[in-house]
């Protein structure tokens, strides 16, 4: 069964008299364990789409199921519970909590979103720290580590609660190319290790070629779809 399924998905933003058609009816399916990228120029609707998948923004119309649940009508507290349960997030600006250490940032979802017992929590955080290669940095604060390291921590935080799906909206936009490649590689490695589905967006063609499935967005519509493993696009 697909982890994400969208049919005739539409998102309009209405501001006063103006209606922006951000997503104009898209259909797609994302299989569990896949490594998927949405690619498109700025303003093409990547963030809008990922926000809908992430239950942060309800669709205007159409069908959208995530992890087997119709999420089109999820709101507020239910949406928060659903996100906490099933989805991990990686942000463009890393978005670590500055008052918490690296360890505590990774621990946050287990502590504040799910209610893991202390012993299990610690073991899991240590496991994730090691998985992203940050085992020596647990006591540091976000202000004391580099951007690439921050994004590693963010990857660990997104994965710590064992979500089925990790969404990353332009996770490499604030990183230099080399670091960006390492983060994408790390994400892929995590997919291999934990079987988690990764969906990320980017407008960087160099980054795209690491994706196994690529969806091209333009003006809120999908252009073509295909398994492009190993291919490169310019």
């Amino acid at each position: 069964m697909a982890i994400v399924e969208a049919k005739a998905l539409i998102k309009n933003y209405v501001a006063g008299d103006i209606t922006v058609q951000a997503i104009r009816g898209v259909d797609f399916v994302i299989e569990p364990g896949s490594f998927v990228s949405f690619v498109g120029p700025s303003g093409s609707g990547k963030s809008t789409l990922l926000n809908m998948i992430g239950c942060l923004d309800p669709p205007s119309s159409g069908f959208l199921a995530v992890a087997g649940q119709d999420v089109a009508t999820l709101h507020g507290k239910e949406a928060a519970h659903f996100r906490g349960e099933h989805i991990g997030f990686i942000f463009q600006d890393f978005n670590l909590i500055p008052v918490l250490t690296v360890f505590e940032n990774i621990e946050y979802p287990l502590l504040m979103v799910q209610n893991w017992p202390a012993g299990k929590r610690k073991a899991r955080v240590l496991e994730m720290l090691a998985a992203v290669g940050m085992q020596d940095q647990g006591d540091k604060y976000p202000g004391q580590i580099s951007g690439g390291q921050k994004q590693r921590v963010a990857v660990a935080r997104a994965l710590v609660a064992n979500p089925k799906l990790v969404l990353a909206d332009e996770p490499t936009a604030n990183l230099d190319r080399e670091t960006a490649m390492r983060i994408i590689a790390l994400m892929k490695q995590m997919r291999d290790e934990f079987g988690t589905t990764f969906v990320f967006s980017t407008h960087d063609p160099k980054v795209v070629k690491n994706a196994e499935t690529v969806f091209f967005l333009e003006d809120g519509m999908l252009q073509k779809e295909g398994n492009r493993k190993g291919e490169s696009h310019e």
Binding site: L56, R83, G84, E85, D93, N95, I97, L111
Partner: protein, 414 residues
């Protein structure tokens, strides 16, 4: 819960300077209120204590209408023997009454054989009077205090002593007109000088009840005033209700009430001062509430505004609105708690310091009254609770705003 407190604490620590400034403001408010309550309470207690313990008693019983003409000390408005017996019986039965004193109040001419002035006098039974107003002896500034006075002796107000140039041991003459209009004089030995206190009755002299009876040629028992002391002044209202209820039920032949009963509050203008202090305390508390409310709201609005991005992040990764609400309310609560805690500590230290410093002040003609401020645990708890509750209320709106934030909009915010 623990984690919410931890996170809130960390965030407060992040903006240390602001946290300290806000806490200090709250602390300042708490200290101001507690010290004011303490000092004014001490002043009030002393003032009331002095007036009730050395002059008024806690409650007084008169014949109906006496109080309205008390300035004239009317002898024709005294309680009769029968009425006095009734009142006495009632007071003896009342378990809350510690003591009472029967007084005849009279005006007289006071002569030192070369000059004459007028004097207001309380004629009392020394035993009864000392039991009812134990502070009276402490107002004897010259002369023997033991036993108050004996027959043939008089305690004169120090102002008259000074003006008439009489001293302890001197003989003076009192001349009084009785109810029938006959004039009589009687010599007295000055037993002591009585320190005056502010307020009506504060400059009265004292003679023995039996002397007043012979001076005024009173055959039967006749009393102007019964001053009553209670075992517990805190039960004043309840006792007043009971005594007044029983006494005002007694009617004369014309079906008019015979007695009137008053508490000290109606007998001295100082009750108004005491009340004013209470009103001031109330307004100072309102100021404290405003300080706490405004400073906490200000800080929490800032805190939410600065952290919109963070709020978006934690909301996106699944923190429920309820938890976000709790997070910010906890921050406000902790601020209030710190402020109150430090405030209480500083205030208690301040109160202890004032007691150690033996600060004295003057009240009326009394000098060197020792300021002995105390604070009831109840007041400390009440002020702390007010501060903490207001701190929570003050963070409610900002916290609510944070919890209702749309994660996407919050994440996009720069």
């Amino acid at each position: 819960m623990n984690n919410i407190v931890k996170l809130a604490f960390r965030n407060l620590k992040r903006y240390m300077r602001r946290t300290l400034l806000t806490s200090m403001l709250i602390t300042l408010g708490v200290v101001a209120v507690l010290l004011f309550i303490s000092v004014s309470g001490s002043f009030k207690g002393m003032m009331i204590g002095q007036i009730t313990d050395s002059m008024l008693g806690h409650m007084q019983i008169h014949a109906k209408g006496y109080l309205s003409s008390i300035e004239n000390l009317p002898l024709n408005r005294n309680l009769t023997a029968k009425q006095v017996d009734k009142a006495r019986q009632l007071l003896d039965e009342n378990k809350s009454v510690e003591a009472y004193s029967m007084r005849i109040k009279l005006g007289a001419m006071f002569s030192n054989f070369s000059e004459t002035t007028n004097v207001r006098l309380n004629a009392v039974d020394p035993q009864q009077e000392m039991a009812t107003v134990p502070g009276l002896v402490s107002r004897i500034i010259k002369g023997e205090k033991e036993g108050l006075l004996a027959r043939g002796e008089i305690l004169i107000p120090e102002l008259i002593a000074k003006g008439m140039n009489v001293n302890v041991g001197d003989t003076i003459v009192l001349v009084a007109t009785n109810r029938e209009g006959s004039v009589n004089g009687q010599p007295f030995v000055v037993r002591g000088l009585l320190e005056g206190i502010t307020g009506p009755g504060g400059r009265d002299g004292v003679i023995h009840l039996d002397d007043a009876r012979s001076l005024l040629r009173i055959e039967e028992t006749e009393i102007s005033e019964i001053a009553v002391r209670l075992k517990d002044m805190g039960r004043l209202d309840a006792v007043y209700e009971a005594v007044n209820g029983q006494l005002s039920a007694m009617k004369n032949k014309m079906d008019k009430p015979v007695f009137e009963v008053h508490t000290w509050r109606e007998l001295t203008p100082f009750f108004n001062i005491a009340r004013m202090i209470d009103v001031m305390t109330f307004f100072i508390k309102i100021m404290l509430v405003s300080i706490v409310l405004i400073s906490i709201m200000n800080v929490m609005i800032m805190a939410v505004y600065e952290r919109i991005n963070e709020i978006g992040t934690i909301a996106a990764i699944g923190t429920t609105p309820g938890k976000i609400l709790a997070l910010f309310i906890t921050e406000g609560f902790l601020l209030g708690l710190f402020g109150a805690l430090i405030g209480v500590i500083v205030s208690l230290a301040g109160i202890a310091g004032m007691n150690a410093a033996h600060i004295s002040f003057n009240f009326g003609r009394q000098e060197d009254l020792l300021l002995a401020p105390t604070i009831a645990a109840g007041d400390v708890v009440m002020v702390s609770v007010i501060v903490i509750v207001i701190a929570i209320l003050g963070s409610l709106q900002p916290a609510f705003k944070a919890s209702r934030m749309d994660p996407i909009a919050a994440l996009r915010h720069v």
